[in-house]
Amino acid sequence: MTRRGRLTIVGLVVALVIACLLAAGIGQLQVPPNEVLGSILHRLGIDILPMPTAPRGDDALWLVRFPRVLLALLVGAALGCAGALMQGVFGNPLAEPGVIGVSSGAAIGAFACIVFGIAALGSWTVPVAAFLGGLLATLIVYGLARSGGRTEVVTLVLVGIAVTAFAGALIGMLTFVSSDDALRSIAFWNLGSLARATWDAVFAVTPFVVVGVAVAMYYAPQLDLLALGERPARHLGVDVERLRLVLIVVIALLAGAGVAFTGIIAFVGLVVPHLIRLVTGPSHRILIPASVLGGALVVVVGDLIARTLIENQELPLGVLTALIGAPFFFWLIRRTRTRAGGWA
C-alpha cells in the first residue's frame, strides 16, 4: 500500500471518529462532546468526564443518538463499499447500486411488506423483505445481461434501467392498493431518512455490512486485474464469472442493508469511490477500505446536516444526497467522456 493510501485511510478514520462524536451531540438536544464521551465512559465504569447535564440527555444519547449515528455509519459504509465494488466489477466509474436496480428491488420488497401488512418476522420482516427484493432484482439483471458466458457493461446498465422502471410500476400499483398509512410509509422509503434508527436496526445491519466488507477486501486484488478486461484477467488466473457472481451478491446484500432501514439514499456509492480514486489512485486494496470509511463519513455528516439545517425540521437524507450527488454525476459524465475518450 502506498504512503498516500495509508495517510488517506488514517485521515478518514480520524475524521470519522470526530464526526461521530459531534453528530452524537448535536441536534434538538445539545450535548457537548466531553459529555458524550463522559456518558460512554460511564457505561464502561470510568467516571472521569461529566455526564450530560440536559434533562433526559443520557437517554437521548443512548436511545436516539447513538443508534442513529451508528446506523448512519453502517449504512454509509455499506453504500460506499457497494459503489466501489460495482465500479470494479463492471469496469465503469459511473456504476452505482441504483443503476442495476438493487435499490428499487429492495424498495419493492419493503413496500409490498408494508402494504399487505405482512409481519411474519415481527419488526424484522420489512428489512428481510428488502434484502430479498434487492437480491432478486440483482439476479434478474445479471441473468438477463449475460450472453455466451459474458456480461457486457452496457447491456447490464440497460437492463438495470428496465428493472428500475418495472419496479417503479410495481410501486405505483402498490400505492394504488394501499391505505393512507401505507402512503406515509412509502414517502419515507422513497426519500430516505435515518429517523427510524433503533438498536434493533443497528444489530440487524451489522453482520451484513461486516460480511460484505470482508468479502470485498478479500477480492480487492482480483478487482484490480479485472480492470485489464475479462480475458486478460482470466489469463492471469482470475475466475471471472465466479468473481462477478460473488461480488454481485455482496453488492445486493450491502445495498439491501443500506435501503432496508433507511429508504433509498442515492449517490453515496457513486461519489465516494470516485473522490477516493482521485486522491489515492485506482488500486482496490486502498479503494475498498477508504470507500467504506468515506461512505460512513458522508452519511454521518449528511444526517447531521439534514437534522440541523432547518430549525425544528428534518430533511430526508436521500433528498440531500441527491441534491449534491446529481450535479456531481453530471460533472463526472463530462469528465469521463473527455478523459477516457468515451465510455471506459
Binding site: P221, Q222, L228, R234, H235, R285
Partner: protein, 279 residues
C-alpha cells in the same frame, strides 16, 4: 498496512507450480481441433504441436483463424471437436491459477478501465505467483521486463495516457513478467515502429532460446521468416503448411493462400527469404 489476505488465503490451497521448461518437449498438443462460431467453421481439424524452445509463427490471410487458434489454445474459445493438451493434460482439466502459471497471452486489444500506472500494470503480471515461492522474484522480474521492453522511463505514467505503441510495449512487459513456459503473442508488433518491432521479436527469440514455447501471430511474412524457427500457415481454418521458413515460404503456396501473386527472393547477405507481392 498491507491487505494481502488473498495471498495468505491462497497459501492454504496447494498450488501446482510448473516445472522448468526443457527444449523440444511438447508444450501444447492440438489434435483435430474444430471450432464452430455462429454456424461457421472457423477452424477445421487442426493438428499442431507447439514445442518448448521454439519460436512458432502463425501466418495466414485475414479470417484464416489465427486469432481463434490462439484463443482456443489460451482456453478462451470453446472447441466443438478435437482436443488440446497443455503439458500433457487436457486443457479443461487445468485450474485457472495453474494455467496462469504456465501460459501467458498478449492480445491485440489492450484497454484498461481505470488509470493505473505502467508500473502497476506490469506488476499485475506477477499476480498468479502471489503466495508462492515465485513471489520473491516479483521485483526482479518486473524490473527486467520493463527494461527489456524499453519502458523504464514510463513507469509512473498513467496507462491510458500512453500512445498505442507505448501501451503495446507495456502490455508485453506485463506478459513477460508473468514468466511462463508458454508465451502466446497476437500480433505484438502491430502498433510499433521499426526499432521496437525488432526489439520485441528479439525478446521473443531470447525467450525461445531460454526454453519457452513462443507462438507469434504475424502479418508480416518477412518478419516471420527472419525470426521464426517454424511457420504454420492457416487457410480458411485449415493448416496448409507446417515447417521451416525456407520450406514453407514458396511462391506457389503463398500466392495461393494470399490470393495474390507473391515473389520470394533471397536476401543477398543473410540468405533469408524476402517475400514481396509481385508488382
Amino acid at each position: 498496512m498491507d491487505f494481502r489476505l488473498a495471498s495468505r488465503w491462497r497459501e492454504m490451497h496447494h498450488i501446482d507450480l510448473p516445472q522448468p521448461p526443457d527444449a523440444g518437449r511438447v508444450a501444447v498438443g492440438v489434435r483435430g481441433l474444430t471450432v464452430v462460431l455462429g454456424g461457421h467453421a472457423v477452424l477445421s481439424d487442426v493438428d499442431l504441436d507447439i514445442r518448448h524452445g521454439e519460436l512458432l509463427a502463425l501466418v495466414g490471410p485475414n479470417g484464416a483463424g489465427k486469432s481463434t487458434l490462439l484463443g482456443a489454445v489460451a482456453g478462451d474459445v470453446a472447441h466443438t471437436a478435437g482436443s488440446i493438451q497443455i503439458d500433457g493434460l487436457p486443457l479443461a482439466d487445468w485450474g485457472t491459477r495453474e494455467l496462469a502459471l504456465r501460459r501467458s497471452v498478449l492480445l491485440q486489444r489492450i484497454e484498461i478501465a481505470f488509470p493505473f500506472t505502467v508500473a502497476d500494470v506490469v506488476r499485475m503480471g506477477r499476480s498468479p505467483w502471489a503466495g508462492t515461492d515465485g513471489e520473491e522474484d516479483d521485483d526482479r522480474e518486473v524490473a527486467a521486463a520493463m527494461e527489456r521492453t524499453d519502458i523504464v522511463e514510463l513507469a509512473t505514467r498513467e496507462y491510458p495516457s500512453l500512445s498505442g505503441g507505448e501501451r503495446a510495449r507495456a502490455a508485453l512487459a506485463r506478459v513477460l513478467a508473468q514468466d511462463t513456459g508458454i508465451l502466446l503473442l497476437d500480433e505484438p508488433t502491430a502498433a510499433l515502429d521499426l526499432h521496437h518491432q525488432e526489439l520485441v521479436m528479439g525478446v521473443a527469440r531470447e525467450r525461445a532460446a531460454a526454453g519457452v514455447a513462443v507462438v507469434v501471430v504475424a502479418h508480416d511474412l518477412g518478419m516471420a521468416a527472419a525470426w521464426a524457427d517454424r511457420i504454420v500457415v492457416l487457410e480458411l481454418g485449415r493448416v496448409v503448411g507446417d515447417g521451416t521458413p525456407r520450406d514453407i515460404f514458396t511462391e506457389a503456396l503463398l500466392s495461393r493462400v494470399y490470393q495474390h501473386s507473391v515473389e520470394v527472393l533471397e536476401h543477398p547477405r543473410t540468405g533469408l527469404p524476402l517475400i514481396l507481392p509481385r508488382r
